[in-house]
Symmetry: D3
Subunit: 340 residues, 6 copies
């Protein structure tokens, strides 16, 4: 099977233990993660060949980031080397009414200061069938946005499917910058993945009925949003994830897939959260996996939602679950009995 390519930033992730706040930490967990890397790892766990493209510094942390990806079977042959530093992000886990907190220290990272000739997309896309990135990648800077555009153009030229998770990050760019850049990139995107906030923040398409902050979602209004989005951009499919945030510990989670004028809705899972960072990425991976394997649309959205449901039970950003585990959940086995 031809490979999937994802492109973005992998960072050193430093997270406090248990539910400690940053101010209390005398130790932190060390991981390496990033939205598109998370997608790559999840796809590799499902058994797909995946290549991850980024730039890391030539030091131990750049090396450790690559080692982590390689451990899970992600190809890192196209990772450029150079630049000053690996971006860092700090995470503390919320609980009950206290939200989780992320502090970015990712400016001037190797990938944020990368240049066009760090990446030879023609070579990278040989043997590839799919190109995935998220809205975080172009938000890293105009140079990276430009590289992203080049990658999209080359991908289309070589017949790859292009998917993008909007992933709006207000700490990286303004809504205006996001809208302008993402609108240009949208011309090359086949499959758009987003949640309601992303769609509102990036493309200004919103429904007034929903109350995201309080987690009350009027599911029907999503259909209208998706329709508007597909009318405005040449997306072949739109997938929307729906999170009802009851507390930092408990969420409802579901998703819908829109294509050819039809809507496919997943089951809604009530989740007791272990770690929700990376759950959107695990959804994207599940979606790509289903589509690459030619699943029926309903099975695609079921697989992607079950995969991302399971991610919430796994520590760290990576969705360390197998295809079989996802399918077991899809097939109604969701009560968490011991496997022995």
């Amino acid at each position: 099977m031809k490979k999937v390519v994802t492109f973005g930033e992998i960072m050193l992730k430093l997270s406090t233990l248990d539910h400690q706040r940053f101010i209390q930490a005398s130790q932190m967990n060390v991981e390496y993660a990033g939205a598109e890397a998370n997608v790559a790892v999840s796809l590799a766990n499902f058994g797909l060949p995946v290549s991850y493209v980024t730039k890391v510094p030539e030091n131990d942390f750049g090396q450790a980031a690559c080692n982590t990806l390689k451990a899970y079977g992600v190809d890192t042959n196209f990772v450029a080397k150079g630049g000053d530093r690996l971006g860092i992000y700090f995470a503390e886990k919320g609980a009950s009414q206290r939200p989780s907190k992320v502090v970015y220290d990712r400016k001037n990272s190797a990938i944020a200061t990368a240049e066009a000739d760090d990446f030879n997309w023609r070579t990278i896309f040989e043997d590839a069938q799919w190109f995935h990135f998220t809205g975080i990648t172009p938000a890293l800077g105009p140079n990276v946005a430009e590289i992203c555009l080049q990658a999209c153009k080359q991908a289309k030229k070589m017949g790859l499917t292009v998917s993008c998770d909007l992933n709006y990050r207000s700490k990286l760019w303004s809504r205006e910058d996001a809208r302008q850049t993402m609108s240009r990139l949208a011309e090359y995107i086949d499959i758009c993945i987003a949640n309601e906030s992303d769609i509102s923040d990036v493309f200004g398409i919103a429904s007034e009925q929903n109350d995201i902050e309080h987690g009350k979602l009027d599911v029907e209004t999503y259909d209208a949003i998706a329709a508007e989005l597909m009318g405005k951009f040449p997306f072949r499919m739109v997938a929307i994830t729906k999170r009802e945030s009851l507390s930092a510990d408990d969420n409802n989670w579901s998703a819908s897939l829109y294509m050819r004028g039809e809507c496919f809705h997943s089951r809604r899972y009530h989740i007791h959260i272990v770690d929700r960072i990376g759950s959107g990425d695990s959804f994207a991976a599940g979606l790509i996996f289903g589509l690459v394997n030619g699943y029926e649309p309903q099975r695609v959205i079921d697989f992607a939602t079950a995969a991302s449901c399971l991610k919430h039970s796994v520590e760290g950003d990576f969705n360390l679950v197998s295809k079989a585990e996802v399918e077991s959940l899809v097939n109604n086995n969701y009560t968490g009995r011991i496997q022995r």
Copy 2:
């Protein structure tokens, strides 16, 4: 008071930290546990004299297993020494929709390769009033099943009460093998402890109305199952535990005791799980404790169910709670206020 004897396998238990998956582990917790050892420790915690019978290798791990039991006051004087290795089991804790996972590496363990003359049951049963084992013990191999049978015969000869928790493990033997062996042993068993799956797997007695996978239990049908079981085998009592698995974190838990044609039902506890491994064993220990002390049947089932309810809140396989703590829960204090 005369002692209780339990017989089975104690293993090295290696479990991942927090909710980590095996694939992530850079450290694992080290414990020593096993179904019948768990029963022994719980009985010792309640204040009963208990002797545990098994075979362990003459190395540090066999020694550590015995030390652990001795620490909790379990007599290990009848533990045979020899053989190649201590059995191992690996455990990762599930969460939400992700089930807990157990990997056995227990083949060729000292006890699995034990021989009849490793144990002198006549000596072991001096000063004893009760013999307890579970369906795991005979599943370790035909030799161990045979030893088990000898123990049962000797126990009956010396006037001990014999109890058995069916504990069917599909990774150890087939249903057919289980049925055949357990049916022979059943002739010597006074008290049969089981959950619905066990009864169905081992003796083929099942009700069609229940949907165990999804945790929906029609409580009434249990009475019929128990009746059928008691009709088929010469059990004096049958105790059935009922788990409704809402998720890997949340279960409902209750139990019933059947004797002399009467049914005694416990309260149903809604439990937020810390660690559910060993909860069945803690139920058996509570039941034995109540019966040995001559409690009324209702108090017996209340005590056993409360004991095993509390086990779900304790890390590790052992039920590290006192008789007083169980009684406090029986007496309606179940809200978890701080004791200070």
Copy 3:
């Protein structure tokens, strides 16, 4: 702004990891905490100048206790030095139906054996506007009760507001002793903070309708209790916290403020608990902060309740949240979405 002074015992707190029981512990967490110290740290976190008064031994543990307070910006210039030992308390965290457990080893501590001339209240109260202590302080011994009385008198003489959290601890003194001593101190207390058990234990004022053990609270009956309390003692305000203990993991939490014949009720929070020790202290700190800043009564009780709601999500006794975080929760953002 003029400072707040709190007075009491800071202890070495040794707590088991995760949900381990004392009997399992091979390591324990080391912290330094105590009811009035917790209030001081929370006030410092909100930005108020605070001075903490106690006595600690001249050894590493007395030093470490002071260092911990200084780290959070609490002034320790009036901490007396001397005596034999720092009091210790051991804590294990409950779960589900198993209650948390606290073991005190605080007898003969430096503060419990302190003498009147260890503290020069006239100097301590310079630049101060508020004096806070809890019922634990006079319970440490007649000498400390006497010191407490002197402090109260001096505080009133110098025009400070005096607040007291009843905090009845049955392991420290009898109800009779508490009633006698607290009744004397009550003459100097402007603001009384308590929960229903405290009021019943210390002042014998109780309502029969409530069933504290089972967490079912008839909210209306609190108004009568508060009225009776204000009728009996010259308190200007009474604040009552209401905990419904559904399990060791899940509580409902709310509070009411009574003043000038009016009742102000907070929202009721459903909390999934990380660590509830110190939540009462965080409520007192929120209350003091609101009153010192001249908030409207409704905003005072809202702020105090939200602050203490958040405390339940923080590991350790200190409420490590900022004024902005509390206000965000007051302003309806209570779903725990990630901040990034």
Copy 4:
């Protein structure tokens, strides 16, 4: 073989991790230890029946202390229950020029406040051949000194051998008190174990040539000291350990045994220290083991010194080495090659 009885205080030991100072600790290791308990555990590890006598409070920490002893096979049936608290000691590990540091918090412990009728020595000494205690035990208070004296008298009456390690602790009593009490006890002691400081501190017998602080020991002068000691008291044997403290990490370690006018000197080991607390106790255990088994004097001192040499390589106060491991070192295998 008849059992050995040891009598003293077992404490909760809280030690900082690695080489952390108390002031840095956010976690501490939890152990249970004490001089005479250490001797008991070491003897049990060598395979002797041992009974430990002390008094512990009826709480989780008293229980945990007993569990620890039971784990290693020490009989705790004669441990009295009651009193307020378990004594505590804090330990931080030194390095290079920085000494290790011990802080005692053992006043008012259960054993320090024990009374004569907590112990029935006649019953305790049934089946016993040996009674061992150290100078720490009578230093706990006049009541304990008196109990110690009763034990010695009863031991002699019942024909037991009595051994005592002088173990002078200046934080527990003055030299004068020590001399007076120990001189009385000495009348019943068969075997006196000590280092040069102890002999000087307790009995005022010292040589001027040695420079203990700087670890330079003139080995010959020990013979004179031992001779003087044996002249003054009716000891049948005297054993002296000799530590040359080159740094907190590196010590030379040797010992001598004096009996019937003869001197037996061990090899001198150069030790790179992992944990030296408990090394004196491990020497006493080695000595007792050798004598109980009727070894030749040279083999006795060789075994005891090798045992205590190995203790320096083991974390914690207990000497977790087997008889075979000690003998391997005695037999010249001291280069630490991997056993595989």
Copy 5:
């Protein structure tokens, strides 16, 4: 550059923390290691393409073993899947006079029960220039010895260089079995790596002057041993490592290379040990790396010895040092100043 292939067993390694003994462990470190895997990782760290051949079970531990290798850049495409279990080895770290201890639990592992058609050596050796294994591999069983022989034959047929580290393990086979099997394999081995004990144990060639146990090595006698070895077998080169075991913490370490009648001796390093397991493997990797790169013989032995010297300072079995770090040590920078 053409790849190196190594073949052997990778195990789950469970090691106690710091210097804890097995009997004390409440947690263990989790790693995956094995002699030939260690060589592979070290070569990959130096920048060589390496492929590792083994068989692992299709469970999480087999997967984790492969992931670990992949993380360091070792190709695992030729790892066979199947069998029952991954072999386990337990390790506790010695100190001073206490030796390190290894307990094997590797019987019936996937590789030990592998069959010839699990490996297609013709395919495996495409693009390869070198085949390396150690004496542990054929010791796993006659079937593995046979597979080893087939691999050697195929390697020679395809023109690869074959190297073997004798690595005698008395717990796996007798000297007689080793001699017989290794003598057959020796016919195909170009480069033999060993220490003095190995040569004596496997081939019965020994010098009487050396006293390995006490770490006193008469360096000159090695030349005779090497000469005898090269006279007896068709080795093109022999490399001998020399360890003087002063204690479990301190060793002297050096090596010699014999070829074409010449001797090349390395510097002798005095090493303060962090972890010595895997040091022999790191020597083999250094040797192979130097030879593959066509270094002069003196530089080969200098590089290999420096590489393995550094391994002693690294936690775990893998030599996590770069070519540049080894060369820095070769070039006289061996004082351990901070690099900043």
Copy 6:
């Protein structure tokens, strides 16, 4: 006593556990440290009033850095707030022949991008008697060098003593830049602290006889270097530390003080290292402490050298030892016996 002011960068320090390499780390220790902050903490530990001046971002990490300083009693009232990020440095601990490794990620930190008006030196220096900085501070950038110059000028104007530790860091600036900037600053420096490399790197003054890399120091040549240095710059005193790096674990350490034409040499300590980072800073603190207290020159250098000797035994960058502990070492007690 008037306060000491130090000025520089405090960083988030992330260090691997034990001797792990960066590439292995799954957790890292979290500390906050920096050369001048280390000096401040050490002075506070000795009992001096100290104020630390820097700039930190307004986030949790800036706050935590200040909290850490406040915990040890360092005044942080003059710490400016703002800028993007807290500088980070990563540290892995070497062993034996493997050097420790430091990776800086400190570009664009709050202090590196500070501006002159962030600091009002006139106010800062009120009540101050001493100003200390190191060569790292001006190396952070021309703006910081300029601020440093202003501080020096203001310090001299207000009669403060100015001390500077050369602390050359090749990763921050070139020798040429260092020489130019430090030569300008030298005009205001009363006391210059350095090691031989610093003097050579910054001022080009070197002796050819010494062989720093190999730790062989010809002590006499230092006198010539100091004389040359004092001839070239208006330093009133020069203090030189001398490290002989035998391995990453073992160093010899001594120092000399030059003033008024006289040389004062300390004892030479052989040190087994726990953590050597911060040892130079602890020397500077000891020197300042001695001079501020008017010690005799010999006592000054003895105190400073003993203080920094002890630092090598303490984990972390801060010298957590008291004045009494330093004096005990000065007074010949250097064998590391347990204090109990």
